[in-house]
């Protein structure tokens, strides 16, 4: 029964973990920790709301916890990475999820976690600040830098893709 639940939900949860991790190995470590927690705490699930939503929540919390544990090794972000890109229109149609993951995983750990929590999970800056033990201002500035880097990287990638397709 446990295995069936795992088989059914793990592929989506791995994507969640991939967003928070640097690579697939780290993501699978978090995935494993998350499922162990899920099966240990499965009694706590009250049946309110979607079961998958509950699993996702546990998984996100596990990923954030893992980030916080690794915080001491967090790398300092080179300043040249963080500049604003002139805004242009985006064509995301050709951008694959895998490519996007690669770009996200290249982000500095601090940027990546704020990006995930704010943009994908929908936390407020206040919640992020409380969870990560940083100021709201830091959360905001990290988010805007993360966004800027992502835009730049995606544009670069689109250019490469375009060149490949054209050639």
């Amino acid at each position: 029964m446990q295995e069936a639940l795992y088989r059914q939900t793990a592929p989506k949860m791995l994507v969640v973990c991939m967003r928070y991790a640097k690579d697939k190995m780290e993501a699978e470590d978090v995935l494993q920790m998350g499922y162990i927690k899920i099966f240990q705490k499965i009694n706590e699930y009250r049946g309110d709301g979607a079961f998958e939503g509950w699993i996702r929540k546990v998984m996100v919390n596990t990923a954030i916890e893992s980030y916080r544990k690794n915080l001491r090794t967090m790398n300092v972000v080179p300043i040249e990475d963080a500049y604003d890109q002139p805004s242009t229109g985006f064509d995301f149609s050709r951008l694959g999820m895998q490519d996007l993951l690669k770009v996200i995983q290249k982000l500095a750990d601090g940027y990546r976690v704020v990006f995930n929590m704010y943009i994908i999970e929908g936390y407020s800056h206040k919640e992020i600040a409380e969870t990560l033990g940083i100021s709201e201002g830091a959360s905001k500035s990290q988010l805007s830098r993360a966004r800027a880097i992502l835009k730049e990287e995606i544009i670069k990638m689109e250019g490469i893709n375009y060149a490949t397709h054209a050639g």
Partner: protein, 241 residues
């Protein structure tokens, strides 16, 4: 305007991850189920290791010179048994001293000593004679007395490497004589003064061999280790003499 673009950008990213899936490594489930099922109990080695550690700790404790000067006052007469030393050369010297203290008046005190385990040996005539000739001992450090003692023993070689015969006597009776003799004469409440005394007392009761399991010199308040005999470990300070 910038704000709107950010919102649109964020939404586009969210859409990319909507319903996205990736297949985890095939063996990941095995790792999870392994951690979920209770592990088999650890086998014995842990307990063996604990036992080994305990033995090592006790051994170290015994080997370290005892530093405690706390005095435990027990009025029991058997306390004086700390004067018993296992080494022949020394014991021989001691015996006459003790014998000398055992004057005829002491004999009945010997009777009343309750904790004597060692077999009692009646004083032979010769020994009584010797005893009478001896000056009263005031110190339980026997080495000083040696020349006199040896000289009075007519048939005994005057060397410190004492004859076997005398050693045997020494071994058999010191616990007895010293009990009665030394106690009233010099130290009313000598008692077990330190840990060394206590260890010697206990060891004497248990270990009747000539070379005790462990012996401490307790003349001063700081006991020092005199000898050890645990089969493979043998150590004897006094045998060097």
């Amino acid at each position: 305007m910038q704000h709107m673009q950010d919102k649109a950008f964020d939404q586009l990213l969210r859409d990319k991850f909507e319903e996205a899936e990736m297949q985890p490594s095939a063996d990941l489930w095995n790792g999870i189920s392994e951690q979920l099922s209770p592990k088999p109990k650890r086998s014995l080695p842990v307990y063996w290791m604990a036992a080994a550690v305990a033995v090592i700790a006790v051994t170290i404790g015994l080997l370290m010179p005892m530093q405690k000067t706390e005095k435990i006052r027990l009025r029991a007469p058997e306390v004086a048994s700390n004067n018993v030393t296992p080494v022949p050369a020394v014991t021989v010297v001691k015996t006459p001293v003790q014998v000398s203290n055992v004057s005829s008046a002491v004999a009945d005190k010997v009777e009343s000593t309750p904790l004597i385990i060692a077999p009692r040996i009646k004083l032979s005539n010769r020994e009584k004679e010797l005893a009478a000739l001896q000056p009263k001992a005031t110190s339980d450090r026997p080495v000083i007395k040696q020349p006199e003692v040896v000289s009075t023993l007519a048939k005994v070689e005057p060397k410190e490497e004492a004859p076997k015969e005398e050693v045997m006597i020494a071994k058999a009776d010191p616990a007895e004589y010293t009990d009665a003799a030394l106690e009233p004469e010099h130290q009313e409440n000598k008692g077990i003064r330190n840990v060394g005394d206590l260890v010697n007392f206990v060891v004497n009761k248990v270990d009747k061999r000539e070379k005790k399991f462990i012996q401490f010199d307790t003349n001063d308040d700081n006991s020092s280790l005199v000898s050890i005999n645990i089969g493979f470990i043998k150590f004897n300070k006094k045998s060097d003499k």
